[in-house]
Symmetry: C2
Subunit: 441 residues, 2 copies
Amino acid sequence: MSMEVAERLTADSMLALWPALSDDERVDGFRLLSPEDARDLFDGLSSPDQADLIRQLSHPEALIWMRVLPPDDAADLLQVIAPEERERFEALLDASTLREAKALLAYAEDEAGGLMNPRFARVRPDVSVDVAIRYLRRQTQQNLATFYYAYVLDQEQRVLGVVSFRELFGAPGDKRVDEIMRTNVVSVVEHTDQESVARTIAAHDLTALPVVDAEGRMRGVITVDDIVDVVQEEATEDIHKLGAVETLGAPYLDVGFLSMIRKRGVWLSVLFVGELLTATAMGYFEHEIARAVVLAMFVPLIISSGGNSGSQAATLIVRSLALRELRLADWWRVCGREIRAGATLGAWLGLLGFVRVLLWQQLGLYDYGPHSILIGATVMLSLLGVVVCGTVAGSMLPFVLRRLGLDPATSSAPFVATLVDVTGLVIYFAVAAAVLHNTLL
Amino acid sequence: MSMEVAERLTADSMLALWPALSDDERVDGFRLLSPEDARDLFDGLSSPDQADLIRQLSHPEALIWMRVLPPDDAADLLQVIAPEERERFEALLDASTLREAKALLAYAEDEAGGLMNPRFARVRPDVSVDVAIRYLRRQTQQNLATFYYAYVLDQEQRVLGVVSFRELFGAPGDKRVDEIMRTNVVSVVEHTDQESVARTIAAHDLTALPVVDAEGRMRGVITVDDIVDVVQEEATEDIHKLGAVETLGAPYLDVGFLSMIRKRGVWLSVLFVGELLTATAMGYFEHEIARAVVLAMFVPLIISSGGNSGSQAATLIVRSLALRELRLADWWRVCGREIRAGATLGAWLGLLGFVRVLLWQQLGLYDYGPHSILIGATVMLSLLGVVVCGTVAGSMLPFVLRRLGLDPATSSAPFVATLVDVTGLVIYFAVAAAVLHNTLL
């Protein structure tokens, strides 16, 4: 009976159940797994979950499982445990993994050094392919994590070239490694930001990217599978910023209530203070509104049309800048394009607004008085002006932020909308003053 | 002199210059490159650029370079040329690549079959490690594109297991392949959507994922480097949707003006029609505004605060749903959390609004008349109501859309803002009617 249950347990099903299990159930389940599944489960756990499990296991078991960890995962684990546990956990690691993990802990999490694996396959340039393959087979038995490329290094550990396993496999056995290696090796230095690492890997379609120090010595290798997480993370950051939230940095339900309130409240307050200007602006036009209350009817319509077109433009430009489809120098081309786009879209929305006013008047749904055509014209011209203004502001603000060295994604949709709300009111009442002069105003 | 120029030309510098070069300059530069750099350049070009280059080259050159293409890239190229050129280009491919490319063209671009490479390393289960390595060295000479894993297949091409090169390298030469292979192989069927492929690869931290047909026969392999592009693409789609733009599907500057206007105009028009309801709502409150013009002052402030808090909530939830941090069943927990968050944030903004009214009154910046405290209270209570309403609408709408089988990202920030604008007006004037009854109204 219990064997049957054990047979149905797999790494995947255990991983899915994990959050719901008690400590005892976790240990029992873990011990019931086949060695292969246990390894998959252990690799699939987050660092805090790995630490929890190690705490529950017997000393011999803990020793086995800690030694399964490659140095980068060991470093992650050492980072999440309490300082007083550090010594106990470190004692479970073998000396070389511990040394490598400690070296990794000196890097920031979001730079090349923090992403790299310090173990990689290396060969000398002057050996034959057959010797290199024999040598690499021996190196592999010592648990190399990354193994699609062998790096050809000189005496000072500088990268001379690279051979992929495919190339090594496909080459005649008696050729020398430096005859078949590729010498145009793309690499990054250890303090390169992870966003730029991801771009380098994507631009060159790389599977693995060597990391070198300031003297050009190879320190480790970053593989593309680590980059998928980086790309997701960076996209999430941009999406959050565009939505005017400070990025949470953790899944929604894992973030504490107060921390979330703070991350949202800061931006909401900034936007609110900006939005207070609309009350000031409306104050200036109090007499116009008192004389022609009908003007107030269209305030939300006009300012939010400006906000929507601005959000659209900002979204497009921020994403294009992030993907490096646009560069700073393109601002002038974009500006010309967005003025035309804004004029076209504004004219279309203006037409819709004009038709709406006249239609309601004709159908008797609302009485705009004897000057309904002039009111329609005011709405139409204001929409044109506000949409052009919103589109240009939304598209240019990301360039301005990039020029100032700030993240363009900070020009979030709500931020642009708030900016355009105030200018939208000024445009609307200025148009109204011109069109309705001597009639309503 | 010309040799010196040639020496400075690299694949990278040519790629950067490519868009600025004439057809002749491209061909001349390409011919000056070392074979290694020429290969890098050719691999780095987009499919339309590859086709352009092939058209300029002599027949023997074109033959060489077309045969460099793996079947998936050949399929991409055949897809971008004019139908009348198809025959000429197909004649340049070798028979097996052409057959494989044609098989790939039968798949949609955004499904597993369209992403996979049909060439992969396969071994029999009953051979020894030494024999497998010798066999794979021979297979490699026939240009296998993906080569981190060898798949162990039975007679019917069904996947029995997988060995990584590392495992094969590290194993004793006389062990049988089926003794060292891993049998818990994650795979996807050929019509799986690319978003789900990306999630599978990320969840299992895979480097390569086999693709099988409905009968379980292995058809190809997707590698993680293809997934980086998919993750970027999907994030771009979500970002565009959140900004209320139909996704462009191409870099900003490459999209035709009219096509861009259409993609933005459709959503702007939909939002505009929704926003027209604010004019109708304002119409209902015309008499209140006429009696207390001061009420109109705070309309933009109140509705945009609701819109901003709604945008925030929608952004957070849409991204969490996309990353599978939240599931449909979590809606109830999220709802409770967002009501509390909305109440906290709304109370805070309400307080700011109340202080603003009283401060301006005290400082003599604006005269709200004898009932300034009541006006402040109206603003405060309305902000509380509007922010709660915006937060709940913004967080629940993505769940509703997911439930209906639609993409949650469609509940864009502007869409939520428009929804909240109308309800915000109703809340504001209802609160005003209650608080200011018998004084201003």
